[in-house]
């Protein structure tokens, strides 16, 4: 009953097997190996983007911060949701990698709306040299609260950015979970929707630790490579990153793993709904924010369920007080675990 995060589960066995297969003899370092080149080609194919520049890094924070640093000058500001990972969960990494750019928060509680984004952009940059200049828009898909932007919603946001000639970054730490939800192509949910640079996540979906950064316009590719190196994010033994990503993309493992996670989440959501839980945010992919009474949380906790409480603690006085649980399903969670969780919940 482990719902703490989709980075807490095991690595997919096919990924481990791929590491073993890659571990044969010698390979040039720093991404100059055949497996890395093959993965780059494969990603360009999947995204129908033959010109794209594709790079592998090991953490989502590295992917986001390096992508933004390449798109954003230090005297500019990034537009994002107040709950964006780049704002709340990266300990100022974007500010660090950009050399001191600002993050301007678009009012709202999770998803950005085109209206709020447009108003925020309009307000920024009206003070000439005194204020920061407008910089990239960063969108998170799946959002930090488990919602998935529709293609129309994505396009509407990037259209606002394009009106101001601002580049768009998509934080796709859970790109696959969103993609299977929308049943569209990777191109549809990225460059065709107006995305210029993508953090294409793998770590939360069964890899040890690999994310791809994709620039659909390769114009700044070399700058990215230099920023990656000076950030300490160029791996000498690149083949072991590439092997993970190759296995991820082979036989649509990335999609089937995401489907498993989303299906598990749907089963869990259904059970929660039946138990009368209230969803704080709509569970569109593999993450649920549900309000449950403290007594239920205590019961689950004692039974060994692991997940984060979002707005309170177990040891409050009132057993009926509603506390929000964040429940995340990864690719490996079993129906048995979910059913046991729901059984405990029902008491």
């Amino acid at each position: 009953m482990f719902f703490a995060s989709d980075n807490s589960g095991p690595v997919h066995p096919q990924v481990l097997a791929a590491l073993g297969a890659a571990n044969d003899g010698y390979a040039m370092g720093y991404g100059d190996d055949p497996l890395t080149k093959q993965v780059q080609r494969r990603i360009r194919e999947i995204f129908e983007a033959p010109e794209a520049a594709v790079y592998l890094v090991a953490t989502g924070t590295a992917a986001n911060a390096l992508a933004l640093a390449t798109l954003c000058q230090p005297f500019e500001t990034v537009f994002c949701s107040p709950v964006a990972h780049i704002h709340e969960d990266e300990c100022n990494a974007p500010e660090f990698f950009t050399g001191g750019a600002k993050l301007t928060l678009v009012p709202g509680d999770d998803k950005m709306t085109p209206k709020a984004l447009a108003a925020t952009i309009a307000r920024e940059n009206t003070r000439g040299v005194h204020g920061p200049q407008r910089g990239p828009v960063s969108i998170t898909q799946v959002t930090e609260r488990g919602a998935v932007y529709t293609l129309d919603e994505l396009r509407a946001l990037t259209a606002v950015a394009r009106d101001h000639e601002l580049p768009c970054h998509l934080d796709g730490a859970r790109f696959a979970n969103a993609l299977v939800r929308l049943s569209c192509s990777a191109a549809d949910m990225s460059w065709r929707a107006g995305v210029d640079a993508l953090s294409f996540g793998g770590t939360k979906n069964g890899l040890l630790g690999v994310e791809a950064v994709i620039f659909f316009d390769p114009d700044k590719a070399w700058e990215f490579e230099l920023r990656r190196k000076r950030g300490g994010h160029l791996f000498s033994k690149g083949r072991y990153l590439a092997a993970q990503m190759a296995a991820y993309l082979a036989d649509d493992l990335w999609l089937s793993s995401a489907r498993s996670a989303n299906a598990a989440c749907a089963r869990l959501a259904e059970g929660l709904r039946n138990a009368g839980a209230e969803f704080v945010h709509p569970p569109d992919a593999n993450m649920i924010f549900a309000a449950l009474p403290r007594a239920a949380h205590r019961r689950l906790h004692e039974a060994g369920a692991v997940y984060h409480l979002w707005d309170g603690t177990l040891d409050g006085a009132d057993p009926d007080e509603l506390l929000t649980a964040r429940l995340v399903c990864d690719w490996s969670i079993s129906n048995a675990q979910i059913d046991r969780f729901l059984a405990v919940l029902h008491g």
Copy 2:
């Protein structure tokens, strides 16, 4: 016949096996897992440093730059060799992570001497607020040219630093190779020799990509954790870094692998010596810089040997011109490969 780098060889099978063993069920992320804690304890034991703060990162550049950023203010300067990895091979990572500190090069062609270091430190910081202030001394062991500082040499350098109350960093990307050469304890070659912070390498000695950063005084441990996070170097699935390091330290694998690499290098050096090659630097560990005629390089190249030419190209006019080869032996290189290399060399 692959001598390009000790990061080009395969991962040790025991390390891959450990990844498989770690891949069981769920674990809390971001280093809050039992395997990470076990590895931290084990490193404290090996270094006889029960108070030390121990962290895992995935690249040597990350280890060095984060360690230096923790030891060095942006208005200070780091003292190092002109051929130090931090100066020549990290694309300004130390300048980036420290927020704009300087690197002051101690004259010499590889090893720093206490005399040159003392003179350089004395000259720096004589301009009050106008010049950078004196910051940490960074020593590389094994050096970038394959030499190993004796314990006396290390102590003499750190004594100079201590005279000026400057902290000492050791870039130990090849720590194990130096340690087996000196046949001393890890404590002897680190804190007992005056080292305050150590980049303890694993990647060049059989891991996929793990280095430990060790602060023998844990005073700045929390600052390091924050710098690691904002540098994008905190892995969510920490257990897979820990599993590598645990396997590395189990059964002295790190030492036996280093011994294999050094022994291979000694065999290669002996053969080169017999062939009349001149050593540009003394081959103390697993790296050789040897001058060979262009004709010999061409022969080796055609036979499939892979290594870097340091100061020239194969396609020059003069077949007798001496060009320096950098030859690096990793843990996996076989005697057969070395003997074949030497056979080709002899012609």
Copy 3:
């Protein structure tokens, strides 16, 4: 009729005279001159702070950004008002000088309330290593909307900071204007109210361009000096900054100039009130935000009045639409100008 800013007026003649008086013979550079030392002593006296470290810089942005950089680590966040100068009008200078710290905006439209500050601080720093750590609180006195915090209000804000052991910075670009409003001592409105570091403005109150940065605890004085130098803010001919500040403090010129500005503002406010203008913010010192119909703005504009429109343009369709004017009085504005402005306003 020049109400655009209190940095648009002339320099006080006594200040110019002091420059002439200082222009005699030779003086050591970089602040090592007798006049600088005299000014530092005088500021310590005025603030009843014999231990304080006192430095002169030439711009308010430099004063704020250098003070904050000295108080704030790059992995921390500064708490401030959403309309703070450091957030809106310094083109990311705090982010730049701190090496990438964040600014966290305390909800509100001008003044911070202790309640909002406490709630904001409480919410920050609950994500361990993932989010930025809590850093300094920065308060603006006079606020950017012309309000003056009472001593009780200041103390209540700094008490919140002290509860979390956070340092307090006061952006006192208009310190004198606030001080004469409150009729208290400089110590009362700074360290006795819990302020640790003060940007003590002079430029907006009759100097060419000088602000003092005062650290009431001199612990970080040397670090500040180094940050000032590497920021390019250490003047070689320090005596000409010191001469301005000396003249400013002599014969209470700073206070009498601020009284003139505030009195002019009160006269203007009275006239606006009589004309039925609505104050968007209370005019506590030398700055007014008043709503007037577009027609009135046009009339004033044609008559030569100069000031900023805050939320609209002259060329809108509706003559009755209310637009906010920001009207700032400096020390030099005459009653005649104000009366003429009011006469035009009355039509």
Copy 4:
């Protein structure tokens, strides 16, 4: 007898008078005033560069660091002399403003030679993504040791840079002193000689504190303005910087002041030569490095002469030991002072 620095002397009376003249009524802030625009036009005329972007800042460090930050990416390196002000005397300001670029020192003891520059550039950037990329060349005219590059020497250096498509920055803190020495036009010694960006000094030649930064190609003008603002170097009361620079350029005051300083220096050099002093560097402009016995230094010191000893202290044992004096003449130094100095020297 004040030879400590050309920033220790008084401001020229015409400059002070100009401040008074500018102190009339109101002016828009932040450089949006008529005097600033007039000065920009005048500088474009003098430099025969009608397209140039011209900005005023208050310190030489600001001018240099902002110019370099505009020309240099954080993953690049600046080429300069080992004794360049940007390397030795700015407390890492270039590293700070560029976001962590490196300074690569061209071997030599003062002037750069084209050969050494070419060799240094050739050696840099041969490590692909691992080393810093080649960035701007920064030349100091007058050098830090008092030498003046001839036009041929300047052109030869910038030609090397142009061969690698690198921009050239000229640190002209003593631009006027060099110009009168070479008897050429400002255009000849700047853009016609291959200079892209110039720090055009005024502070060391009679101003309170103003330097112009001139980009002969205005392509990056807006970026510079933003960097200046976020560096805290945009003055609100710009007219008082402009007034200084206007007075400096009026009636060729800048040239006549530089001629006075150089002539004083020549008179001093002649006297020193007659006294048997040895010049450590050729005194081409207004700065002398001369070796004198300790006994002579003591005599001068006791008589009240003020200057810096470069390589020793007065209180050494040996009265005959030669110590280097740095003697700088500013525009105001009188023949009487020089003659008195020489008289004391002769004993």
